[in-house]
């Protein structure tokens, strides 16, 4: 019971912190929005839509990837607190309490995941601009993918943050890990048009399936351009990735907090 209460308290704290920090709310939404409009409008006339997506604009093509980027940024920002609070007593106070460390993993990642998902869903407000009609079932699919991918990213962020002493190092490693995962997810360019080497990376990248899952959802399961696999496979791979990352985070947190 204490474990559940701890998870609940940690989740609630993540949300409260986020809502009270206006710059964070703004940053997590403004950055992907800016990237979306700059890239989307910049490549407007040079972009060749993939087969099946006749007439799809680059702005629309990029949209699912931008949702993934919102998830990614929120995950980074919500786990950086682990590094910041390492030296402040806050994290130590949680660790000296008689509550299992896995509760810390679940509470932190759940909070970050819910935040990321709410933000991504807010982004759906831009749907009319890109002429996509997911329908309720499609929104359900988008929500499911967001939850699973959010969990995967926050768990990965948590595992990295646990090893980091400085926020600078954390940012460096996160950029090294997360941005390539995003670039190679088929979010920016259709996989068929890419060089064969890149195609291999895209196929091997679990994030590609999350982005494809978002494409399925956003197109309302209708004929979906540039999807790597069917919706079921996309959900399964994303779910598996989330499980794996949670496993890594739980395994990491068992390491002593201070190096002996």
């Amino acid at each position: 019971m204490t474990t559940l209460r701890t998870i609940g308290a940690l989740t609630a704290r993540e949300m409260l912190k986020f809502v009270r920090d206006r710059s964070r709310v703004l940053g997590a939404l403004a950055q992907p929005l800016a990237l979306w409009l700059l890239l989307g409008l910049g490549f407007q006339n040079t972009f060749q839509p993939p087969q099946g997506g006749v007439g799809e604009s680059y702005v629309a093509f990029l949209f699912p990837g931008i949702l993934a980027l919102v998830l990614l940024f929120t995950a980074i920002f919500s786990t950086i607190s682990i590094v910041e609070e390492r030296d402040s007593g806050f994290l130590q106070a949680v660790l000296v309490a008689p509550t299992p460390r896995t509760a810390l993993v679940f509470g932190t990642t759940l909070g970050g995941t819910l935040l990321a998902t709410v933000q991504a869903l807010l982004f759906l407000g831009a749907l009319p601009l890109v002429d996509l009609a997911p329908g309720w079932l499609g929104v359900g699919m988008v929500t499911a993918v967001c939850l699973l991918m959010g969990l995967a990213f926050t768990a990965l962020g948590f595992a990295i943050a646990w090893r980091m002493d400085t926020t600078r190092g954390f940012h460096a490693i996160m950029n090294l890990f997360l941005l390539p995962l995003w670039f190679l997810s088929g979010a920016m360019f259709p996989v068929e048009g890419a060089a064969p080497v890149l195609q291999v990376f895209v196929w091997a990248n679990p994030v590609s399936y999350a982005v494809s899952g978002l494409r399925h959802g956003l197109h309302g399961f209708a004929e979906t351009p540039a999807a790597l696999a069917g919706p079921g496979v996309c959900l399964a791979v994303t779910g598996g990735f989330a499980l794996l990352m949670m496993g890594v985070a739980v395994w990491q947190v068992r390491r002593p907090f201070f190096q002996a």
Partner: protein, 321 residues
């Protein structure tokens, strides 16, 4: 015999090759206020990390109420509370939200939780700020809220790691008044790490740490009395040479303590003037006083004057933040 609140036996700890604690053995009786006195880097925080189950010792064992911190960390965590050098408060949350968060970690809820929070806030004089964000409070108030956080679950042992660092003298006095009141009300055993002598003087018992070794352990007065009563303390550039001179010339016993020389004649005030007459040019300053914990530290740490000219313990907090 009752189980000691803290029982540390032969604890040695290494960070890589750096030896942070060397064969430390000490006990704290239940209900006592025990002070660990030592300069920064002497091993106080390492000992706290071991006691608070954040880190197992490299060698030896540490027990809290008979429970081994490395083998039964969960049982130990039920019994202890900790106030760290930095407040464990989330600045974005209000005081009450912070305390509720802490309550969740210990499974406290309902009216019991509300009454406990209200009672602590009242006792620590922060009730009127309960709904302000923790980040908006002054340093002294934050410390008191953090103390309330550490005490929320009624721990039997509270670890205080330099809880007044960075506070001005008034805030430190208020903090100590609060601690005193809580001791009377709850009977909590307190283990305090500090580098401030006046705080160590408040303790029932003091352990002095120097470079990871426990060099003295006893009641503050006992430790000071062991160095003798009123003596003359002479500041000089060459302590060892002055010692020899005084002993040769007057046949009075002397001792080098850091960069000072302790001279123990039968009548210190009278001796002071003859000392000045004979050796005035070698004396920077000389005072007649009873020993302080700093002197105890200097004597037991066997600090040679070349190693440490500076006094390492502070009478009061000055520059450190």
């Amino acid at each position: 015999m009752t189980t000691p609140a803290v029982d540390i036996q032969g604890v040695t700890h290494r960070y890589g090759t750096h030896l942070a604690l060397q064969d430390v053995t000490l006990q704290v009786a239940p209900g006592a206020l025990y002070g660990l006195l030592g300069p920064n880097g002497s091993g106080k925080t390492t000992l706290f990390r071991i006691l608070s189950t954040l880190m197992p010792p490299s060698e030896g064992r540490a027990q809290v109420f008979g429970l081994d911190t490395a083998q039964k960390p969960d049982a130990v965590r039920q019994r202890i509370g900790a106030v760290f050098q930095d407040e464990a408060l989330d600045d974005a949350l209000t005081v009450r939200e912070n305390l509720r968060f802490q309550a969740a970690l210990y499974g406290l809820r309902g009216t019991g939780r509300r009454e406990r929070i209200d009672a602590l806030l009242q006792r620590l004089d922060v009730a009127d700020r309960a709904d302000d964000a923790a980040g908006d409070l002054s340093g002294g108030l934050r410390r008191r809220v953090d103390l309330a956080r550490g005490l929320l679950h009624r721990p039997d042992l509270l670890l205080l790691d330099e809880p007044t660092s960075g506070l001005d003298p008034a805030a430190r006095r208020t903090f100590w008044t609060a601690v005193q009141r809580l001791r009377e009300a709850e009977g909590t055993t307190l283990l305090l790490a500090t580098h401030l002598m006046d705080e160590a003087d408040r303790c029932d018992r003091v352990g002095i740490l120097s470079d990871g070794a426990l060099v003295a352990d006893g009641a503050p007065d006992t430790l000071k009395d062991a160095l003798g009563d009123e003596t003359i303390w002479v500041e000089t550039d060459a302590p060892a040479r002055l010692c020899n001179r005084i002993e040769a010339q007057f046949g009075v016993s002397t001792r080098v303590v850091g960069s000072t020389v302790q001279v123990a004649p039968p009548d210190p005030p009278a001796f002071l003037s003859s000392l000045y007459e004979a050796l005035g040019d070698r004396i920077r300053s000389a005072t007649v006083r009873t020993p302080t914990l700093e002197d105890v530290f200097m004597v037991h740490a066997e600090v040679s004057p070349e190693d440490r000219r500076e006094r390492v313990l502070a009478q009061t907090e000055e520059t450190e933040g």
